[in-house]
Point group: C3
């Protein structure tokens, strides 16, 4: 199994867990869990593959991705009530999934021969769109756009870190590790320590 | 006209009726009816065709699908006020449309030479995504994810029934009829008799 | 630079401005502005390119489109607080963007050799889907479906005007100008003078 495929698989599994947790918050039944899990798990990679015209999309070619997502849904359906705070677990798992998915997006689009700009964008898109679909469909406030959170920023910084690392090595391992590390570090700092960028202010003080 | 094309056409027409009914609940004008009807009618099949890389998507190749959807929108715009309960009609038409669309998705992806797993998924996707887009765009609670309803479950069971029936016959007619029958029966049981799967419970009794 | 590419570029810039204004209403940070701006700016054209199987989509082939959208986001982030009424500016810029994007959609799909029916639909889709994604993702009431507004209607009329003009000339310049003019005129009449089509009425007077 190649490194991009392995990253895709890991991000599919962890994103599926987050999808199932959102389904649990909406009190859906088992098939509802499966639906939201699969949508979240393969959503970002599917958008990436459609945009890059990789045909067919990764999980149509290799259906075990969907089985992995389905297993995650079943796992959460029968164990989520053991969790103290499902929302907290959801946010942290989402941070892990984001980090892995950005790296997967970078790896796949590099492998397809795209330049640094598109590779960076596809990292961000692969990372962000699965969670975005999950939240839009389940009518949650999209994590990706929550004011006062580093989310797209973390994905973007991670994808940029990979680009930087490629200046020093031709092998993908180190850049992809750097990508995951930077994405997760920024996201974790935002969750735990409240790191954020200044939000837009309708009337900033300096104009008073 | 081939059987898959006929099923696509029927599901387009009935889904367009449901789109127009949702538009009527949002008090849109005639062009709004046309927009929501067309989106609902071709949404599921479009996602399926993009995922399977069938190019171009079915209604770009054969625009009469869009005209059929538009006719349904006009029909509802001028007659919906004769209905006693538009929501009830909407839910039942949606059940019919779902059944036909799942069968259409199964038929089309079989015809494209895919295996049983992808065929089942494409049945579910063709059935569910048109209505999902309709509800997300019009800000209704998605029928597809409403707690305590068999919806994705009905679609999934229908697609599985088709697979079973293919074990006994090589012709598509019987499996597609089985698919429609099972999907509609489960959906109808859910609407009329309250059939449902157990929803996720944060703390099930056995853990008290 | 060809005329379709120029129209695409202009609609990308103006739609990006509207995306950033919506981001400012949601009090997002700079990266949130970039995300919503880019989604709004390239959303309609991306859906068009996927449906028409133009591979890869326009901005993957020519990433400067994304840079233009990003510049618009930065511009709005640092200047929007000078505006008296951001919502009013948003609605008018959206009208400009819609007009240009409908013309861009008509031009691109004509160039790809499609017939009048698909060309008209692609004009409407290119015009409407960027703003629709912007509003769904940011949880605003979609402008495209707001009751009592000419929006899809304006896009549709503009695309039809282009078709009419093609009966008199083979060059695209005049039809595309007609398309922009008609779309903008109807949209402006709707915003400023309250032009609208009759909305659906559950029980119209004649049935009392």
């Amino acid at each position: 199994m190649t490194l991009p495929a392995l990253l895709d698989l890991a991000s599919v599994f962890v994103f599926a867990l987050t999808g199932a947790l959102v389904a649990s918050r909406a009190l859906l039944d088992l098939v509802g869990f499966l639906f939201v899990s699969c949508l979240t798990a393969v959503g970002g990679g599917t958008v990436r593959d459609l945009l890059l015209d990789r045909a067919p999309v990764f999980w149509v070619q290799a259906p075990h991705y969907v089985l992995v997502a389905a297993s995650a849904a079943v796992l959460v359906f029968f164990t989520a009530h053991f969790l103290e705070s499902r929302y907290r677990v959801l946010v942290w798992l989402d941070a892990v999934a984001l980090s892995v998915a950005v790296a997967a997006g970078v790896a796949v689009s590099l492998g397809a021969g795209h330049g640094p700009f598109i590779v960076t964008l596809m990292g961000v898109i692969t990372g962000c769109f699965g969670g975005l679909m999950r939240d839009v469909v389940c009518n949650e406030v999209p994590l990706v756009l929550k004011a006062g959170e580093l989310y797209v920023t973390a994905a973007f910084a991670g994808a940029m870190a990979a680009q930087l690392a490629f200046a020093f090595t031709d092998l993908p391992t180190l850049p992809l590790l750097a990508c995951m590390f930077v994405t997760f570090a920024l996201r974790a700092g935002s969750i735990q320590l409240g790191w954020k960028l200044d939000a837009y202010k309708p009337r900033p003080p300096r104009h008073k």
